[in-house]
Structure formats: C-alpha cells, structure tokens
Chain length 321, copies 4
C-alpha cells in the first residue's frame, strides 16, 4: 500500500462486513448515517456488497420500472469510520480481491426506461416514448461472464461506487462528484488504490455497486451488476490535500473528474492529474500539460447518470525520469 | 392563492421566523435537520432571511476568498413543516412582500475566484489564474438599488433559493434541482406562486438568498445579495403530481428545469410546461409543443452554479381559450 | 441608421431583389457563390424571401420527411455585395419592414423527425423512434397569426437567418456562428439593426428564413415559416473590430453568441456585450460584468439546430450615464 | 483492404502527391476547390503532408500568436478524386505507412492563446487572461519522439484530419463532423482503414495534420505536429450507406462521432457502432447496446477544437460468433 499511509507498517486486522452487520444499506452518501464499523488505518475489510438493484431483479421476465423504486437504488455498504481521519487527509482504498457471492453467482444487466446513454433521460428531457425494458440474467464465475450463447466475456470485476462522505451534503448513491460516488470506472478493481479527499471526521467510507465487467461509459445504463465479496485494505494519508479522487494501479496514475457536460469531467480529470504530476513528481505545470497532450490516456467511466465521470491517466513509466 | 390549496379558505395565522428562532441557518436542504416552525396550510410566515454571505462581507475592502468558507454559503431559513404534507403533494409558496432588513439596508455583490459565468470554475476547470476579487456594497431601499453614481437600478426583489426537502438526499444550498434550490429566477418575487413537488413528510420548506435585483443568468456569480424580511403564504395542494418546480404570477405560467448543460435545463423546463398545459389546460401535447415554438418565453436563471436553471413560460392569456 | 455608417448621409437607392433576380437560392453561406446584387452603403433593398421549406410544404397532409431533402433547406437570398466592404469592417443591417408575401399569405410550422428541442437529433443521438410528423398551415396577415380556432397570435415578424460570408468557410444555412447565420433571435425584426463582422470582400450579405412569429428557443424546431417581402437598409461601418454579431433596437443593445453547449453561447453573448460597453460606452470591464449580473437580459434564440444562439442585452437607458 | 472495395482485386497504381503537385494547400474541406489528383479505386497515394502550422513555427522562441493567422491553419492535401465515387458510397482509406519527412525530422508542439482543453477558448468564453505561449521543437525518428531530456516517447504516427467533401458546405479544416475532418483519433494510423460517407462526386479526399504521437484528447491543443510522407491506399465501396465515419484496424471496429457537448459525440459514436453491428454482424440492436455496455471501449479524440471527437470501439473477437 501507499508508502505514505499511517497504517503502512501496521499488521492489519481483518474485518468482515456481512449483510447482517450492515443491516440497512444506504442510498445516499453523507454524514448523517450511523457507522457500521470502525477500523484502524491499514486494516482489511471483507465487504459483502449487494448488486445495484439490491437483488430485486431476479428473472429476465421482471419489469424494472415496476420493481425498482427511486431513489432507493444502488445500495451502499458503510459508513466505515477510519480512526484519525480528518478533513484535509486522504483515504486510500486498495481493492485486493473481488469474488462473486452466493451459490449461483450471476449478474443482472437491464434497460430501464429513460435511463442510459442512448436514451432520453430525466435530464436530457424529450417527448419520446421510452426504449423497451429488457432484463438479462448472466451467469458469472471467477474467470468469465457468460453473456450469451455466442459471447463469453472476461471477468473483470470492479467497484462502481466508492465514496467518502461530503462535509455536509448527503449525495445520492447514483451521483459521482468530488467525494467519489458512482464513478463507474472499470479500472477501480483488484490491484487499484483509489485516493479520496476526506471531508468529514472518520472519512466515512461507503462502498457498493460491484460489476463483474463493464465497458467504457456503461452505455446502456447498467453493467453486469452482481453481489460480491470484495476485500479492501484501507489506509489514511495525513495532510495530503487533493480536490478530486485519484487512482493508481500497477501501470498508471489517474485523476478523476465527474461533472456535466462531459468535457467538464475531462477538464477536471486532466487538471487533477497535472496537479499530481507537479506536486509529487517534479513536473513543471506547462510541461505536464504539453506532455499529456502526447501520451495521456482517457477512460470514460459513467456517462449515463446525473453526472459523468472521466479518468485521465499517465503510464507510470513516465513518472521516474 | 391557489384555488386548489387545502388552506385556501382558512383564516391564515401569521408566524414570524426571526433570526432568534432560526438560530442555526442551513447550508444543505434535506430531511436531516430540525424543523424550526410548524404551520398549517394557508398560513403566512414572515421570514428574516440573511444574505448569501451570511453578513460576513461588509466592506468593499473585504476579500471574499479569505472570508467565505465553502460549503458554508447561502444560509437557508427553515425547515418549516406544513401539516398534512406528504410525498406526492405540492407545496405552493406565495411570496407576498419582500423588504430590505436592518437600519442601513444594503446589498453585497462580489466577484469570487473561480466562480461566475465568465470565469473558469471548479467544474469548468482550467489552468487560468483567477479573475480579480471585487466587492461592491450597494445601498438599497424599497424602490431602488443604488448601484453606482452613474446607475440606479429598480428594486426588484426575489428569492434566489426556495426548496422543499428531497426524499433522502441533503443537497447543497448552492445547487438547484427538481426540489427547487438555488434557481435564481428573478420572477420568483412578490406576486409569484412557486409550486414545489413534495417528497418528504411535512414538505420541509427552506428559503433564503434574497436578491434586491438580479439580471438574467446572474452572470458575475452574485446578485445584490441582501438580508430581507420576506412574507410568504404557504399552501398545500394534495395529490398533484409534478416532477419539477413550476411558477405562476399575474401574467405567466412557468415550468422550471435545472441541469447541466444548459440545453438540458431548457428541455426540462419546456417539457414541464407542456405537461402542465396538457394536464390542466386542455392542450393536446403536440399542439402545446408547436404553439410554444411560436409564443413561449424563456428566462435564464442561474447559469453560474453547479447546475443551471431555466424557466419556460407562457402568457396566461393563452390559457383560456 | 448608425451614425458611424459610411452611407449615413447618402440618399439611399432602393433595390428590389425579386425571386426572378435571385434565381437560385443558397443553402450555404460563403465566398463561393455568385453575387446577385451590388449596392452602395446606405442603400435600401426590398428582398422577396422564400420560407425555410422553399414552399415545398403546402398542405397539412404533407409529410416533411418525404418532401424535404437535406442539406437543401433554409434558402437564402444573396449574396449582396456592399461597395467598399473589407475584412475588419462591420455590416449594419437595419430591418425596416417585413410583410407577408403572396395572395394567400400563410406560414408553415411542422415537426420534422429527429429535429427540435424536445427530440433526439442527429447530434443528440439515441435509439428512440422519431416523434410524429405534423404540419400546420397558418393564415397570416399584417397583424395576426391565426394559429388555431382557439389561439390567435400577434404578428411579430423577424429574420431567422442573417449572415455575412465567412472568410473561407461556406457554412450551412442551418448553422449560426460568428458570421451570423441561423440565429433565430426574434428581436431581429423591424426596427432592429444587426451588426455583422465582415470577413470577405464586399461583405456578401445573405438573408432569409422569415418568421411571422417565434417563441424563445423555437422549441419544436420551426417557427411560423413564411415567405416575406422584407425591406432592409444596409450600411457599412469601417474599422470597427467585432468578433460576434451584435444588435440594437429602440430599447436595447445585444451581444449574440452561437455555440454548443448552450452555456457557451451564453458566455460568448455576455462577453461580447461587455466588450461593447467597454469600447463604446465608457464602462470599466469589471463594472460592466457586475452590473449585467443585476440588470442584463438574456434572449434564447435557436436551441434546436446544430448550434444554439443566445442574445445578452442591456437596456439603453443604462448607456448614457 | 476491404473485401467489398471496387478496387480490391485491381493492381494498384502508385501516385506521389508531392508539395509541388499540391501547390496550394487547403484550409477548408468542400466541393469548391480544384482537384490535384484523380485516381482509380484501389490506387496507392504517397502524400507529402505539411505540419498543422505549415512549417511557420520553427524555433522555440517563435510566438504562435504572431505567426499563425486564422483561419489559415491545418493545411490539407487534396482534393483527390476517386473514379466512380458518388453520394451514397463509402471511401475506404487504408493508411499503409507514415514516415517523418525532411533532413532534420522534428515535430512542433505549442500552446496557443485561448486554445486547448484547459484553457478558455473562443467558444468557452471568459474574461481570463490567456495562458502563456510556449513552443516545443521535438526531434522525431522512425521509432521515437524525443520529448525532453527526461522523456522519450514512442513514435505512433497517425493522421489528425481525414475528410471527404461535404455535399455543399466547405468546412474549416479545424472542425470534425460527419464528413470526417479534424478528428485527432490516434488510432487512425498505419494499419487502420477509415470509412468516410461520400457526399459529393469523386468523394474529394482531403488529408493532412500528421502527428508523430498524440495522447487522448490532445489536451494542450496540439500534438507533435510534423511533416510526413504518408502512404495510403484508397478504395471505394458502392452503396454502403453510413452517416458517420467508421474505422477498423487489426483488433477493433470503431464508430466515430464529432459534436459538442462531448456526450453528444459519444452518443453518436456508440449509435454508429451499434448500427454497424446490426447491419453487418448479425447483432440484435438491443443486444448490441447492452453488450457494448459490458465490453465497449471509448477513445477520446480531439476535445480542444470547435467540435469534439469520440470513437466507440468493439474488439473484433466479438464479431465472429
């Protein structure tokens, strides 16, 4: 884990946040809910996440608009309190492992009326009739996602929604912003460390919305939404001032922006990455800007929800000169 | 007030929500705060509002970025509970009067770094240096806003931020959305009735952000922000299902949308107006759409905050055939 | 007309640009077409404009998608050469009068598949089926637009598309940009003077797309599109460097921006208005910015075409201190 | 090359479009310029392209705003006429090889005032001062781009601007749209075939804007802009109706959208890809939509110019069931 973490050299305690411990899942991310767990920096937590529909959609004949009830979507585990975390610090969430949960592991993908990238929505309003409602139930194992008779996809699990609490807002779990939230960035899977700017005491970590796989943009509005057993290790970095989430994995560093329109999310992401290069990697600001114009990479996360998410990346080989 | 209101024929009780009663102002709008007042439908409330900077900026030599502390901006009075209000009803807020408050009534307008319509912002991110910080302190009376030696503006007071609580989210007072919020629509002044879709028990009305006057878009980011004594009458309309705020005054009906990009706010506003015409005024949907293309009016509210607000209007003369 | 115009004190010659003289109407605005008329600054031109569908839609049973052929829409009269006009000058187009043309004056409004503010479009792409196609044929006279049995609208004619030629681009007549184009701003009617930045020799004025009336945004995609006899007086202002169109009428001055998303059009419009106030009306830039935040007005022009148009206005009473 | 091409089985003739043959480079893409070359489907053309600044920026002390003159940027070779090409056909442009040109091969990257992804621009207007102007001159060879003492980048050449002529518009070489144009998609390099929808007789191919490498989004506004010797093979596919450019290379198929805001470009790209999968690869529309939500990839091309470009991709392994 991060060298800078308070818990980097501690022997981690492992906690298991079961459904029973969680009891009530959360549909907003904020400072007003009761913590379900308190941990020390460096601790490991095994989290039993529910799928984004909270298991309510089971069959391909189910009709999402009759079953799902807004705003009770995208159930989140947490909040988890981290000892010593204060506004102005950073929470480092290392995803160690993600496994399908249950006896008959499967995921659900569906088209929901007025939701999705190629649909009118509540915000991109129109007078069109909704697209059809379709549910797909997809078998999943630790290697594959059995999409259809024709197509088997690789199992590439990741966490769609990862947050610390805003200072005073309590934000819907469907919305990404500078606290993290529903970013739907497929890189936030095993091996990744996501850095979130802490804005409330104890950080108040929320986690949920596991995907067995997801394409860039999650274009139809849903991924292969599944219930997972996700193992994270959580560390605390004191006095690291960041404005937006950042991520790193074996190969890349990434700044993450969430906003509409999509160019604003992209602007935020690249600016956050530049700030990182300048502060921690001895780049001159203008050199970073011009060099990213030659070798930066962009990941489109979610572009279907109330705000869109973009990651701007640089290969780590460029960090050491 | 609205014929349909539960309290239309009641003798209104008048309440005075003083600063003392309010004690703690709110910077988010949601279901988690303690009510300061409970009223019956049809009651009148005299509200002592604070200016958007909570009185912290007093002199033209003050430096906003040193004084203002995010997210503690745009203080809201409330929440006010309305007896009998339930999810699926509508709150009707009739603004009866708005007067400047205090011995030396004045307003503050200022330019805040990375805030405003012609500035890079936290969302429309860039590498530019901020625009200069400038504070204007403007004398206000019941007829005029004394902008400068050269220019005196008319006193056209209105409420910038008017909200009911979302069902579970607690939304920053700077953000407008389908709960109302920081819409900054200058028509929401004396004589107007704003209809807000109730989503939580008691409606939980929040009000604040009085402006002595404001242009379309509030382009520099702030209006003539002043502390007011605002008199509202609040009624409850049962079983009126609306998705977004609506407004009417002597001359017009208006649907209000808040979103980014700005075209989405406009789309929502026009669609909401069409819905109103179809449901209550015997318009055919397509006729309403095509006729608004000939005589609809658009008001740009706020286009400087995290979401933009637009009102789409029709003159009332077209409502009675 | 403008005091500054080269032709302000000339006795104007009146030209009549009939359909016969025009022969071939234009569907792009650029430097590659043959001029149909050459005039002196200050001259008057009576222009016989065709409606935006070039008269092809005549009956309410006509089906637009079978009749209209892209990109041959929105026929433009011109180009008209103005003697002495050079890059870096400004063309002032004063609309003096607009009358319905023909024996049975009428306008056409229609809904066209994947076109309009509350529809998916070629750019805001989706998988929705198109909205229905509906045609309205509306009787028009010099005072009224007879929309329906129930609703008679006021005759408020204006020019939807007014352009000078770009320097080297030839831009579709449906697109507004810094050359003018399809701005659909209802203020550009009798009594208005529109200022267009000249970028090619002779200015090459194009004009067309007359509307008998139009609401803000032209939300369904079309106004009451009619063939008109439009009288303009055209003057030339030397060495006035403007970047975007501007307009003035009896009451207001306006900067006009055209772009997507709509907030960018608004930003351009307000910045152009500020530039005007600073250059010609002794405003300090920051004072102009802050004062427009209190008394600026915004007109939404077209928000249905490939680019959106916005006018930012100030009442002329504020120009003289 | 494409099996479907008219010229697939012809022995290709090789043409060399030298600077001498080209004489005058073009800054718009349209039907009004003189062809420089006529070829048969399947022919090979070696094109000597100029860099986007037409060689005017040579030294790191050069000041772009003093040297560059809008709209004379991004010089294009062509138009090349292709025998038999008609509206409704598709031009297939196979890039075979791209080599640096000249004795001292190098590229130029620069920051230009009010241009770039993290700058205010002519469209995203503001009152900020411009960012600094900086020029980088970068040595290039067939394997590397020598960015700085610290950082050497891989040589990954591609064509930034590739177009057929619109039917009647003549569009600035800086603008991408459904004719192709300045898409700045780094995948359009050696090994790729770009499919462009033909809208005018002979197709009228334009090509230019070679980059020695470029990151996603070309965030500072310019890539490593260099003069190249680019070898293409051009084929004609009759009666293939596509609306937007498409691309394929060894691993992927891609739909390309160009629009603002960026979400609209993304919507177009994914819809175009879905159309391709349905028409040519036996996908059901909804299955394609939902499956791309699991394994689609998105490439951000240009997000700095008047319109933004996005490619939506699918790995070819999914095409054969």
């Amino acid at each position: 884990m991060s060298r800078r973490g308070v818990g980097a050299n501690r022997s981690p305690v492992t906690h298991h946040l079961t459904e029973e411990m969680q009891k009530k899942f959360h549909y907003t991310v904020g400072p007003y809910s009761e913590p379900v767990l308190s941990i020390e920096p460096g601790d490991r937590v095994i989290v039993d996440t529910r799928d984004a529909f909270e298991g309510k959609i089971q069959k391909e004949t189910d009709i999402p608009s009759k079953i799902l009830e807004l705003p009770y979507l995208n159930p989140q585990n947490g909040p988890i309190l981290v000892a010593g975390a204060e506004k102005g610090d950073v929470l480092a969430v290392h995803i160690e492992e993600m496994l399908p949960r249950g006896d008959d592991p499967h995921g659900i993908c569906c088209m929901i009326p007025f939701f999705g990238g190629l649909s009118s929505t509540d915000y991109t309003a129109s007078l069109h009739e909704p697209l059809p409602e379709i549910v797909r139930r997809i078998k999943v194992d630790r290697n594959h996602v059995y999409w259809s008779k024709k197509h088997t996809l690789a199992y590439k699990p990741h966490i769609g929604t990862l947050s610390v609490s805003p200072e005073i807002d309590s934000i819907n779990a469907l919305v990404p912003d500078n606290h993290g939230g529903n970013m739907d960035i497929p890189d936030i899977g095993p091996g990744s460390i996501t850095y979130l700017p802490i804005r409330s005491p104890g950080a108040r970590l929320f986690i949920g919305d596991a995907h067995a796989c997801q394409g860039d943009g999650e274009v139809c509005g849903t991924a292969v939404e599944f219930s997972s057993t996700t193992t994270i290790r959580v560390d605390l970095i004191k006095n690291w001032k960041i404005e937006w989430p950042r991520m790193e994995n074996e190969t890349s560093v990434m700044g993450i922006g969430s906003a509409r329109p999509l160019e604003d999310a992209t602007r935020i992401a690249y600016r956050e990455l530049i700030r990182w290069l300048v502060e921690d990697y001895q780049f001159d600001q203008w050199d970073a800007y011009m060099m990213l114009s030659q070798c930066g990479k962009v990941r489109l996360g979610n572009f279907v929800d109330p705000k869109y998410s973009v990651g701007a990346m640089l290969d780590k080989s460029y960090l050491s000169a």
